[in-house]
Amino acid sequence: MPAIRLSDVRYRYGDREAIRGLSLDVTEGEAFVLLGPNGSGKTTLFRLLSTLAPPQEGRFELFGHDLRRDPDAVRSLLGVVFQAPSLDKKLTVAENLLCHGRLYGLAGTELKERVSAMLERVGLADRAKEAVDTLSGGLRRRVELAKGLLHKPRLLLLDEPSTGLDPAARSDLWRYLMRVREEQGVTILATTHLLEEADRADRIAIMHRGELAALDTPANLQASVGGDAITIRTKEPALLAAGINGRWPAAAEVLDGAVRLEQQNGAEWAPRLFESFGEQIDELTIGKPTLEDVFIARTGHRFFGGND
């Protein structure tokens, strides 16, 4: 039984179609990342999975429960960490967690013990009695995470979890998430627009304009691009691309004001290109394919490109 099974999910805000026929499975115990630029539909999908947005079209199954027919069964299995803060700033850290625990049916000694154990784990035991509005942004995220995990969910949903975190804190967060997964077998689904964050997942679903552009492990995705990415800066990219394509079947493209081609042996191509087009080349770089290259290869767009 998969943790999440989506088939042909569609969602629209008025006239705008945010998700256009999306199907995917997430295996139990997996760390799964939804990667996509702003407007790709990943936040909408997060809202649907978290039950915040009512489903419109398609089938949603979470651990075998139909999200439409039995939303409360689904809700009790979910831990949700929103991108926007969801803490009550006027209450203390411990009060926030106690309040949350009761919403999930925890009570009494069990609740109190879980709250102190959770605060111990995220390193906030000494701040338990402080009001949340005295905490820094990074510490508040930790309380959010503690809140999402307090009731031992089977699926932890995180929307852009490292928003506002510095790289060190981001590493900490993922190390912690992976440890929780090891210990509790919780399935993790996170959305992100950060390419370097997606790398940490077992599998990545790349979303583009409400559709699935790719779905695989980070290594397979990178291997799928096939070779090295060669990028050439030049004054007249269109002219250069045409020149290269006239000479070799290289499939050079213009992207974002630069010429880009993918070839198996980048190192052999560099001298060849300089020999024929040296005059026109300002700068030539060869890189191993990144997730951004995967995104470009699958969608024909730059990850942080305009709204074309």
Binding site: R75, V80, F82, R102, G105
Partner: protein
């Protein structure tokens, strides 16, 4: 976790407790909801109540305290929405009515505490405010019904609002006039359209009920009977609660905080 929904009563209690904790930690709110009506009471009594003295506007002021506190308590729905707390509640495995009840009972409890403080103040300081102990108890219970009704009304208005400014606008064009157009301010036998509105206003029955309990020695002619006052006030509260429960089931774009 095996059960699918959390037991609703602890949820209601927790959400109500949270309202109280938040309110009393923000001292300016406590002051705003209690001191302003007391000032109005003193000014009205000095300026308009010559013969009747401080007793004339006492029940109305109590209702004003209930109204103001209910307003301040339900404004927090808009803050809960904008600050994101509400999202966490909306995705929890709890029935919607438990969320509504927690919010409304919490707000009503705050209003009750404030109104009871005011009642005690009047009882000791104004000669004409002289309820029997049983009458005082009945007045407190009637205020509780009014508090639920007014907090429910605030909830209805606040649920779909996106900003607290919007709520303040509604307050000045709807809620304050609603108070003025009741027997809190007008006499029971006022003439014209205003008089008709005053007699139709459910708040008038709450004020009249309180007046009968608090000033048994100094009754004004033509007040509705006890039974009518209770029936209208309890009905008002029930209608508001059902409406809140219905309206809270509808989603708004404001559910999505981003």
């Amino acid at each position: 976790m095996t059960s699918t929904t959390a037991p609703p009563l602890p949820v209601v209690f927790t959400l109500a407790w949270r309202e109280l904790a938040r309110f009393f930690r923000q001292r300016n709110r406590v002051i705003g909801a209690l001191v302003q009506p007391i000032l109005f009471w003193l000014l009205f009594s000095e300026g308009l109540g010559q013969e009747a003295g401080y007793a004339r506007f006492f029940p109305g002021t109590m209702v004003m305290i209930l109204l103001f506190t209910a307003i301040f308590a339900t404004i927090s729905i808009i803050e809960d929405r904008n600050e994101g707390f509400l999202q966490g509640v909306l995705v929890a495995p709890i029935p919607r009515w438990a969320m509504v009840l927690g919010k409304v009972l919490g707000g009503a409890a705050i209003a009750m505490i404030q109104a009871s403080v005011f009642l005690a103040l009047g009882w000791f300081s104004v000669a004409d405010v002289s309820p029997s102990p049983l009458g005082a108890l009945a007045a407190v219970v009637l205020s509780a019904c009014l508090a639920v009704a007014l907090t429910g009304l605030g909830f209805l208005i606040a649920w779909r609002m996106e900003s607290t400014q919007g709520f303040h606008a509604i307050m000045s064009v709807f809620l304050l006039p609603m108070w003025f157009l009741s027997t809190a301010f007008f006499p029971q036998d006022a003439d014209g359209i205003a008089g008709t509105l005053v007699r139709l206003n459910p708040l008038s029955f709450g004020v009249a009920g309180l007046r009968q309990y608090l000033q048994p020695d100094d009754l004004i002619e033509g007040l509705p009977t006890h039974a009518t006052c209770w029936a209208v006030t309890v009905g008002f509260a029930l209608v508001m609660m059902v409406a809140c429960w219905r309206v809270a089931g509808t989603r708004t774009r404001g559910d999505f905080v981003s």
